[in-house]
């Protein structure tokens, strides 16, 4: 493997890992703070991609904007959607057993997939990247790398930094950190826990929807795309430790590296390599690499 190929694979791994982080960070926060196992989280990623596909022509026609207008509208919609979903379904699950959480969110997946099938159909669609990001940059003498992928990584890093700033530096972030390490204590100290739950859930949904939207020009848009992301995100959360955003970041990048280089170096076992990694981590540290907080 020469250096240019190696560099391209590193960039791919970074981009995939960062995208996973957007999905997994929401998932780990929802686990850690709400105590709910949310199988429907992959559906939010799928909904995001389909939103980008459906909103782009609409935004171009009526608002004169392109991809980014669609992105902004989608983000607002996703926050509202997350808020309503928490109010309508998820809030009934806090006192329930894990099994019932699993089943209700599994039911939600079926509903979302079928609604998607009814509204948009089962075809694979492409989403156009904005024109000024559509080119490639030269790497070495023969390799090129798409600008849009670089842009994606950049955006993910910005979102990650924003997430860090909110969690580490704001009052609500303080409540979130406290909630992740001891839910009952936060409640008894007079934090409006219902509101906090609602905000965390809506933010988690928004992160996953956002990930789906910015991934759509690269991955295209297809049925069942959320399920794959969901299960890999579970692996990320298991490796990183439940409730730990830092752990989610580290584990996402690790999974991105293993998956990307696995596909290049040993393509026969690419599908299972990530799970082998998870098994190894479980042997070593069953609680994941990082503590919550």
């Amino acid at each position: 493997m020469d250096f240019a190929v190696f560099l391209v694979q590193c960039l791919n791994a970074l981009q995939y890992g960062l995208l996973l982080f957007l999905v997994a960070s929401g998932l780990t926060l929802i686990f850690g703070i709400l105590g709910v196992i949310n199988l429907a989280h992959g559906s939010f990623y799928m909904i995001g991609a389909y939103l980008a596909y459906a909103l782009a022509p609409w935004a171009a026609q009526y608002l004169g904007g392109g991809f980014f207008t669609a992105l902004a509208i989608g983000l607002v919609l996703s926050v509202v959607f997350g808020y309503l979903l928490e109010w309508g379904f998820i809030s009934y699950l806090y006192q329930r057993e894990h099994l019932q959480q699993v089943l209700m969110t599994y039911g939600l997946i079926l509903v979302f997939e079928e609604l998607r099938s009814i509204l948009v159909g089962d075809d694979v669609h492409g989403v156009a990247a904005p024109a000024w990001l559509a080119g490639s940059v030269q790497l070495g003498s023969v390799m090129t790398y798409p600008v849009y992928r670089l842009f994606m990584s950049g955006v993910c890093i910005l979102v990650g930094l924003a997430l860090y700033a909110v969690i580490a530096r704001t009052r609500i972030g303080m409540a979130i950190r406290a909630g992740a390490s001891n839910r009952e204590m936060v409640q008894s100290l007079g934090v409006d826990i219902r509101l906090l739950y609602r905000i965390v859930f809506a933010a988690g949904v928004a992160l996953a929807v956002f990930a789906g939207m910015i991934a759509s020009p690269v991955s295209s848009v297809y049925p069942g795309m959320g399920n794959q992301v969901l299960i890999i995100s579970f692996v990320v959360v298991v490796i990183g430790g439940i409730g730990s955003v830092r752990g989610a970041l580290f584990a996402s990048l690790l999974v991105g590296l293993v998956d990307t280089f696995g596909k290049v170096l040993i393509p026969q076992t690419a599908g299972i390599l990530v799970y082998v990694l998870m098994a190894a981590i479980l042997l070593w540290r069953p609680e994941g690499l990082f503590r919550a907080g």
Binding site: E114, G271, I272, Y275
Partner: protein
Amino acid sequence: MADSFAARVVPLVVACALLAAFPFVGGKFYVDLMLTTMIFAIFALSLELLVGRTGLVSFGHAAFFGIAAYVTALLSPQSESPSVLWLLPVVLVVTALAALAIGALSLRTRGIYFIMVTLAFAQMAYFVFHDMKFAGGSDGRYLYVKPVLALGPYTLVDFDRPLTFYFATLALLVLVYALLAAIGRSRFGHALSGIKANEQRMRAAGFSTYPYKLAAFVLAGALAGVAGFLYAVKDGYVNPEILAWHQSGTVLLMLILGGIGSLRGAVVGAFLFVVLKELFQSEALFGGFAKHWQLPLGLTIIACVALMPNGIIGLPSQLRRTRVPVPHAG
């Protein structure tokens, strides 16, 4: 005491009699559907041991169903009927070993972690059969000849004959049910119940809980293997979708439909699920909408979780509780 014994046993005997009589009155399509239902009932019973008895929510139980189905298909010769006497034990041993490996790792975790880890391992098994050439990849693999049970020159059970297959499956269902009922009354079963109720207390009482949980996991995997074996033989075809996580979700759904914590619930749940699925897929009822059958199914799941957390089996007592106010103490 005699009363409660009769109340327990009479419905089971009646159910067995009805199932045994069914092939002689039902049409071919319905007999086939009932056969599928019984196979899924065995599958659901195996998961009941984990979820209902031990309190371990596994979201990867389809792995063992699928591994058994694949091993059955891979080991079946091209032309000559294999004997059940070696095929089924080999299938079950391989499945139990897979369950031992996955269980040993998964049981290092608990709660939400356990759910996610079992799901991830099942997905790993899915990719093993999906990506590996020997298993036929995503196209799956055919099973050309069905096994027989022969003693010397006499063929006792030929799985190629639908009626024989039906009764063999019924017999296996009864056997699995009886085995799990016996476990429920054994010391081992009580230990598992204790782990479900309060694992800390069991440890404090001197039980090393990990081996008990692992034994339950392996046994549940092997029993799911019985269902997987029957499934592969019945359809004569296996593909990676039978290990997919939807299958794990479906079997959990059967449990909650019927009611967690009772063997009857698992069987009733499997039956209810198949009926619901046929209902929602029926073009006569839903027309063109029938291809979106997962939408009403999903809504049913949500309604079930919200309205009857104890399943169909628990519904009478749930209704009684809401209608008759609990008398005040003193």
